[in-house]
């Protein structure tokens, strides 16, 4: 019995849920590490060198290779993890390298005078970071962060290689069971593009919100 296009949507939507979960988890897990990397320049020479090596590896090699290394290396470390965990770990370590650049630029954009003034007022480094640097940096970084999330959704399609049933993997399964690869892959492609556009729209919405609020102050 030949399945029609309508039958493939539940499977694809299920895959899309996995895709979004993995991407979001990686984005959030990568953020603290990225922040550490972004502030590594303030540390000693050893820390800077380590951060440099980290960034060079995660930016200079293909994500697919990184993913496979993490997937195969974890059992060696005695960690028998679900492929989905390996996928999230790999993508989080990867996005940390790219997010760190966003945070660094965002923190740099804050006028030095503000931090000096805060120091004069006796605010602690922690307070300065949380209440002066972070909120301002967030606004300038938002477009880049939305871009990174879009990149993550795209990159997460590679987790299909380690048998995680994300949107791409689901499309492969549907293609194999319906013998209509064109329909399956084209549908999945449309879903990816739609999600990317949706993310861009949400980003614009938040941006407008934030700028309204700052104008009102």
């Amino acid at each position: 019995m030949e399945k029609t296009v309508a039958h493939i949507w539940p499977a694809l939507l299920d895959g899309l849920t996995t895709t979004m979960t993995i991407s979001l988890a990686a984005l959030l897990l990568g953020a603290p590490l990225a922040l550490l990397l972004a502030t590594a320049g303030r540390g000693g020479r050893g820390i800077r060198a380590l951060a440099g090596i980290y960034l060079s590896f995660w930016r200079g090699t293909p994500i697919l290779v990184q993913l496979l290394i993490i997937f195969y290396i974890l059992p060696f470390l005695g960690l028998e993890l679900d492929p989905i965990v390996a996928a999230i770990v790999a993508l989080a370590l990867n996005t940390a390298a790219f997010q760190s650049e966003i945070y660094r630029a965002g923190l740099q954009a804050i006028p030095k005078g503000e931090i000096e003034a805060a120091k004069m007022l006796g605010l602690s480094t922690r307070t300065i970071f949380l209440h002066i640097e972070a909120p301002q940096a967030f606004r300038t970084m938002l477009p880049a962060l939305v871009g990174e999330m879009q990149a993550l959704v795209k990159n997460s399609s590679l987790v299909s290689v380690i048998a995680v049933t994300d949107l791409t993997r689901r499309a492969q399964q549907v293609a194999a069971s319906t013998f209509r690869p064109l329909d399956a892959y084209a549908s999945a492609l449309i879903l990816y593009v739609a999600v990317g556009m949706l993310l861009a729209g949400v980003g614009l919405l938040i941006e407008r919100r934030l700028s309204h609020r700052s104008e009102g102050q």
């Binding site: 200079g60 293909p62 496979l68 060696f76 590679l158 492609l189």
Partner: protein
């Protein structure tokens, strides 16, 4: 157990394939990007709208799916491609979108007065684009172009999903023969890293060579 030296020819073959498909794919993406950028600026509304839609679409599409669509979906409408050709074409159409955006920004950065001057001198719009605007835009966009080329070189690893025997595929083959899983992937990671490093050095040399004097 096969030694590392025995596997060297395999790695080398993979490396050669990675370099040839990447260079070809980047070349297609680059040239198609220029055409798309020119079309984006077209005064013919439908043309610029269609190209805008294409660029937006290409931005959100993962390369793996583009390749699946071409390689496995192609036969459904009579398009039979070898992994090699599908890989190069896939990389090209996938990479053209970002290149188009880069060139559009570059072309917009060329002062308007130059086009007006070219107009006055009797140059057609095409001549103006080819001889006045494009050379300047290319020079201005060299850094982002190199970044995009490096991104595509790294993305070429995805071509392994359509069974193309490039570096990543080679690592998979070797690991399935030798049961050593981590070493092959670390080896190719190093090779990719070296390729990326070479390309970015080349970019810096070109940037210095074509630097706009006095800026």
């Amino acid at each position: 157990m096969t030694g590392f030296i025995d596997d060297a020819p395999l790695y080398l073959a993979g490396l050669v394939t990675t370099i040839t498909v990447s260079v070809s794919g980047i070349a297609i993406a680059f040239l198609l990007g220029i055409v798309l950028a020119a079309a984006l600026r077209s005064r013919v509304r439908p043309t610029s709208l269609v190209v805008r839609a294409y660029v937006e679409f290409a931005r959100g599409a993962p390369l793996a799916l583009v390749l699946f669509l071409l390689y496995y979906g192609g036969p459904q409408f009579g398009l039979l491609l070898s992994p090699y050709v599908a890989g190069i074409v896939g990389l090209g159409v996938y990479g053209a979108g970002p290149f188009a955006e880069i060139f559009r920004a570059g072309l917009n950065a060329v002062p308007k007065g130059e086009r007006e001057a070219a107009d006055m001198l009797g140059l057609t719009r095409g001549q103006c684009l080819l001889h006045v605007e494009l050379p300047q835009a290319l020079r201005l966009t060299l850094p982002p172009c190199m970044g995009q080329a490096i991104a595509l070189l790294k993305e070429s690893a995805v071509l392994s999903v359509i069974t193309l025997g490039e570096l990543t595929k080679v690592a998979g083959t070797i690991s399935s023969i030798t049961f050593a899983v981590v070493t092959p992937y670390l080896t190719i990671a190093l090779l990719y890293w070296a390729l990326v490093e070479i390309l970015s050095r080349l970019g810096r040399v070109l940037e210095r060579r074509f630097a706009v004097k006095g800026s």
